[in-house]
């Protein structure tokens, strides 16, 4: 029948070992996690792309997209109704329809989307109009130093310096993965900047203003660095 333990308080301190073990596991994961994730991603990408159930998106397997919105639900905008305004300290302000943008020369390349908090999605095929081309068409005035992007979510805005905005890997993106940019990814038109953290790549792009200053944007007001170049 029932046996008596030798007093519950005399046993081995297994609980403490479990806590220390988990802390050790966590520390190893922080240092090695990026490589482990990379490996998992390569193994799982073919499965996830063909997963009709969507179940794999519930589990943090591999490098998955995280979708951010800083306001309430954003109303989708049809490509037919889409307009991009380029204005500010420029010689020639302009209004582009989606068809106008699609008719301009398209730059295509594959690059990582890197969030400042750490998550990233490698090898994303991007395509769109180089921002440098739109800026050349607009003709910034001599005292222009910055570019401000605003989203049609009504809240989001972020700056780049005029020099950063002219980089080859900054595009007004019309397509991702060879398809039009989806609403969830900030479509029909978003910014993508390959050398900068994701918060510089404005979703649901509404207007581009050339400015004589470089004011902090939405996340920069909340602590992120004004210079969003991806670091080591």
């Amino acid at each position: 029948m029932g046996e008596r333990p030798r007093g519950e308080l005399d046993g081995a301190p297994v609980g403490r070992r479990i806590v220390l073990g988990l802390l050790g596991l966590g520390a190893v994961g922080v240092v090695a996690g990026r490589s482990v994730q990379e490996g998992l991603s390569h193994l799982l990408a073919p499965v996830q792309l063909r997963d009709p159930t969507g179940l794999t998106s519930l589990v943090p397997l591999g490098n998955t997209w995280r979708y951010y919105s800083v306001t309430g639900a954003v109303a989708p905008r049809a490509t037919s109704a889409y307009r991009l305004k380029v204005f500010g300290d420029v010689a020639t302000p302009a209004m582009y329809s989606y068809a106008d943008l699609a008719a301009l020369p398209q730059a295509s390349f594959t690059d990582t989307f890197q969030c400042v908090t750490g998550w990233h999605v490698p090898d994303v095929p991007w395509s769109g109009v180089r921002l440098a081309d739109l800026l050349d068409l607009a003709g910034p005035t001599a005292d222009a130093v910055g570019v401000r992007f605003r989203s049609f979510d009504g809240t989001y805005a972020v700056n780049m310096t005029l020099e950063q905005a002219r980089a080859d890997d900054v595009i007004v993106a019309l397509s991702m993965y060879g398809e039009p940019v989806t609403h969830d990814h900030g479509g029909p038109v978003r910014i993508y900047s390959g050398s900068m953290y994701g918060y510089k790549s404005t979703k649901w792009l509404d207007e581009i203003e050339v400015t004589t200053n470089n004011l902090p944007g939405y996340w920069e007001d909340r602590g992120y660095p004004l210079d969003g170049i991806i670091g080591e």
Partner: protein, 211 residues
């Protein structure tokens, strides 16, 4: 001893700690789901607000756990949860663990395991979360690692909490112990026999008739 009297199981201080941790943990898990899942995020939005609630509830989570140390009863129970006796290992391996053959103290081995998995995971989530929130603390590849660890530990902790709630739902008397502090002697004998024997031996106030 009468079954009407029952046994004191948790003091008001312990119940207060449990309730505070439960509320904070609940808010952390709900906000985590919003932040992690794309469909929920895009429907609800307001990421910064959700993020602030998540981060500050997470940072507050250890406060009641540590404040509990002011109570002697809480400290004793933390010590009980920490210590594994040989019969705890037998209990974990046994298929008849619930039939009362293996002596169980105030906490069974599953509760001890759960308590420390939750405590350890909470600390890991706290550390990795801080690294993700204050992006200047460590280099980018460690922030990626921290995100990886945070995701998996959050999933694990979520499952532990769901398991904890499922066991509680199946046992009204255990819930009463945490809600009102007392349990019936019959339940205590069936589930935690060695604990009842211990109280009997000590002749302590556990069974003292109140009125």
């Amino acid at each position: 001893m009468s079954d009407l009297v029952g046994v004191d199981r948790f003091t008001p201080a312990e119940r207060f700690v449990h309730r505070s941790v439960a509320v904070l943990m609940g808010v952390c898990l709900v906000t985590a789901a919003i932040l992690y899942n794309g469909s929920i995020m895009l429907a609800i939005g307001h990421r910064h607000l959700v993020e602030l609630v998540h981060v500050w509830c997470g940072l507050a989570l250890p406060v009641p756990m540590l404040a509990g140390a002011l109570s002697a009863a809480y400290r004793t129970d933390v010590r009980r949860l920490n210590r594994f006796t040989p019969s705890d290992w037998r209990w974990l391996r046994s298929r008849q663990r619930r039939d009362g053959t293996i002596a169980v103290g105030k906490f069974n081995a599953g509760q001890k395991l759960n308590a420390h998995l939750v405590a350890g995971s909470t600390l890991v989530l706290l550390g990795t979360g801080a690294v993700m929130y204050w992006t200047g603390l460590v280099r980018l590849s460690w922030r990626s690692g921290a995100t990886f660890v945070h995701d998996w530990f959050a999933l694990g902790l979520g499952l532990l909490v769901i398991g904890h709630i499922v066991y509680a739902l199946k046992d009204p008397e255990a819930r009463r112990g945490m809600r009102e502090g007392r349990v019936s002697t019959r339940w205590a004998r069936a589930e935690h026999g060695a604990w009842v024997d211990e109280i009997d031996d000590a002749g302590s106030g556990g069974f003292e008739a109140r009125r």
